[in-house]
Amino acid sequence: MKLLRTFTKGLWEELPPFRLVLGLCPVLAVTKSAETGLGMGLAVIFVLTCSNVLVSCLRNVIPRKVRIASYIVIIASFVVMVELASQAFFYKIYESLGIFIPLIVVNCIILGRAEAFASRNGIIPSALDGLGIGLGFTMSLTVLGAIREILGAGTLFGTQVMWSSFRPFTFMVEAPGAFISLGVLLALMNAFSKTQQS
């Protein structure tokens, strides 16, 4: 039961980036379309789960003083793996994510989970925590990407979904659209949890 909660908390209670306001750069940058959002999310799930497991394995070996440096090395190694793998197997996604694949290294969510969760818990809970938070992050990215793609280009995952005379709001796929749609979504989440509480 407790394990299940470890997994599901990432999907709602600590849903990144809405509840856990961290790692905003990739959220804003790669949600031009649902596809790139999903690709980024999957990359983050992989890095987050693997680094959580490894950090948890090594939690009694790594001296406290150099723990952050060790975590960074571990995370960066998995990021390089994702970089190479995406280049080899998903070249289109690799190209559209561009600089944001190496930047997964500095995504605060990953280092944050390593420090706050994996360094204090066993391997299985850490893996579940990584999977849960990663899945939540992927969901948020895909939803935000879908909203921006539908309004900004009239398509979803590349197929036309809006009526043919629909004029896309190009603004939505540019930087201002990213900030504003994330802000509005965040406000909606806040409003929703307020009414739920009362």
Partner: protein, 199 residues
């Protein structure tokens, strides 16, 4: 003269925060008050310039000759982390007033994607060394400019009547979006400027 175009482009047109989407965590995190925004901005200018110069040297003197280009990410983040530690120690020892002013922001900078992002962008865009350094200074200045502007807006928002759901980060994001829209007005300035210089 070309550096002027590079600077204008990095500060106003392709502003690292508002158009390139880099460094948004500290952008929203440290823009609630003007003094923290100024401190963070200065610390970023300081670290980003040094970090870009050092990583440039690492890339061209170590990684490329040894054919280790694929280790770029891991090498850069380690260099930046070590550098930030070193800067912190150096400031504490030799420039205590500066340390008091910037010290608390330095640890945050290691995980600031603007620093790593600029270092990687310089390599991906095949810049030469002076260009890379100028680009880093300009990007960091653009970061500081946007941060200070947003801090000014958010200080005023403090005393305004914002709907409850929008309070905090949400209104900050929307303000950032409006600023980004305003900065869109600069698109094309670099082209005309370049033509003007060349003629």
């Amino acid at each position: 003269m070309e550096y002027i175009v590079l600077v204008i482009s990095a500060v106003l047109i392709k502003n690292i925060l508002l158009a390139e989407y880099l460094g948004n965590c500290p952008f929203l995190g440290t823009s609630k008050r003007m003094d923290t925004a100024v401190g963070m901005g200065l610390a970023v200018i300081f670290v980003m310039t040094i970090a870009t110069a050092v990583t440039y040297v690492v890339q061209h003197m170590v990684l490329v000759p040894l054919n280790l280009g694929y280790l770029q990410t891991i090498a850069f983040i380690l260099v930046i982390a070590a550098l930030v530690q070193f800067v912190e120690m150096f400031l504490r020892k030799f420039a205590p007033p500066l340390y008091v002013a910037l010290g608390i922001f330095l640890p945050l900078i290691t995980t600031n994607c603007a620093v790593l992002g600029t270092a990687i962008l310089c390599i991906r865009r095949d810049m030469n060394f002076p260009e890379a350094v100028v680009f880093a200074i300009a990007s960091a200045s653009g970061f500081t400019l946007a941060l200070i502007l947003l801090a000014g807006i958010r200080e005023r928002l403090e005393i305004s009547n914002v709907p409850r759901a929008l309070r905090g980060t949400a209104i900050g994001l929307i303000m950032a979006g409006l600023m980004s829209l305003a900065f869109f007005g600069f698109v094309g300035v670099d082209g005309s400027l370049k033509e003007f210089i060349q003629n």
